[in-house]
């Protein structure tokens, strides 16, 4: 079975199926004959981004958090693979958090969610797109597996955030080059 598959693949290559070949050449000789064949292999830009979790849960808020004004939590980790220079950017997918609760929707803005590549900041608003990696906002070189992390800081206040459940999606985008 395996031998048959190999034979079929060789046959396709020799017959020009699946791969573009240079203009056909011919040769003839009574003893030996050589024909040069150029194989062209498409090399597309390929990128891959794997996230460790599709959601991040901020621990239930306490009086201490509301008085401090913020809560910090570790987000997912991710692994980037790219065969050309790349960057990873972050932006909220909505301008406001979704809210479900008994109060009127407070329209909590996306800017109340900040992110950072490290647990200690600096913190960047998620309302607009910004580069997570590389930190110089240029591009990082090709990688066979670059691990990255993201941390979230959410902003809270006693008066602007009534009881309820809040949620906001964050898009993490890998762009190459």
């Amino acid at each position: 079975m395996r031998r048959r598959a190999v034979s079929l693949l060789l046959g396709m290559l020799l017959s020009g199926v699946g791969q573009p070949l240079s203009a056909q050449s011919t040769c003839s000789s009574t003893t030996s004959c050589t024909v040069a064949v150029t194989l062209r292999l498409p090399q597309p830009m390929v990128v891959s981004l794997a996230l460790s979790a599709s959601s991040t849960t901020i621990p239930t808020l306490t009086a201490q958090v509301l008085s401090a004004g913020f809560a910090e939590v570790a987000g997912p980790t991710m692994v980037v693979r790219a065969n050309s220079p790349y960057r990873v950017s972050v932006q909220s997918a909505a301008s406001t958090w979704t809210y479900s609760g008994s109060a009127a929707n407070p329209q909590k803005p996306a800017s109340d969610l900040q992110w950072s590549a490290t647990a200690s900041g600096p913190w960047v608003s998620s309302a607009t797109s910004a580069t997570l990696w590389p930190t110089n906002s240029l591009v990082a070189p090709a990688t066979s597996g670059r691990s990255l992390a993201i941390f979230y800081r959410s902003l809270w206040s006693w008066t602007a955030n009534p009881p309820g459940n809040y949620s906001i999606p964050v898009n993490i985008t890998l762009t190459s080059p």
């Binding site: 996230l51 849960t57 006693w158 009881p163 890998l174």
Partner: protein, 177 residues
């Protein structure tokens, strides 16, 4: 047989669920020309419960000692701004005060808790204390910091208030919503 079918169905559901999750956590991008990108989404969730905080300025309040003129006088002895409460709440709230016991300790242990009156408006109005509790303040909306200044007024009786040191525990309760 029936059991087997159920297990098989459950296993298939688990596989399908796993496939869906994997798709949500990973992305790939491929292009032969021009930039490529791919995005994954991480949703940030949080539950905000009813949160309230009550801070009292002092755990113990020493009241003004009465004189002979105060005994039998309905005006009693007032201590304005004897204590203050600070309320924080992310929803509506109310504050009640109640006596921890029906009578003061000290003397003949028969001085009624109702001999202590509370006022939050500099004695324009007063509320006699009881073990059942009395509402002294409320807020229709959330507050980042509301200060409640409480004055105490005590009436004294010749026959029930024997010489001695008296004390009465007052419980302040914050309820939200």
């Amino acid at each position: 047989m029936k059991v087997t079918r159920i297990i098989a169905t459950a296993a298939m559901s688990a596989v399908l669920a796993g496939t869906a999750q994997a798709q949500a956590l990973n992305c790939t991008g491929t292009t032969s020309a021009g930039p490529t990108n791919c995005s994954v989404t991480n949703t940030v969730n949080v539950s905000v419960p009813y949160v309230a905080s009550l801070q009292v300025s002092s755990a113990t309040t020493n009241l003004t000692a009465p004189t002979a003129a105060n005994f039998g006088a309905s005006a009693g002895v007032s201590d304005a701004n004897a204590i203050s409460l600070t309320v924080k709440a992310n929803s509506s709230y109310k504050v009640t005060a109640s006596a921890a016991a029906a009578t003061w300790t000290g003397g003949t242990n028969s001085k009624s808790a109702g001999d202590l009156k509370l006022s939050i408006d500099n004695f324009s109005t007063t509320s006699a204390l009881s073990t059942a509790g009395v509402q002294i303040a409320s807020g229709a909306s959330a507050t980042a910091s509301s200060n409640i200044s409480i004055g105490y007024n005590v009436v004294y009786n010749w026959t029930t208030d024997a010489p001695g040191a008296y004390s009465l525990a007052v419980n302040y309760t914050l309820t939200s919503p």
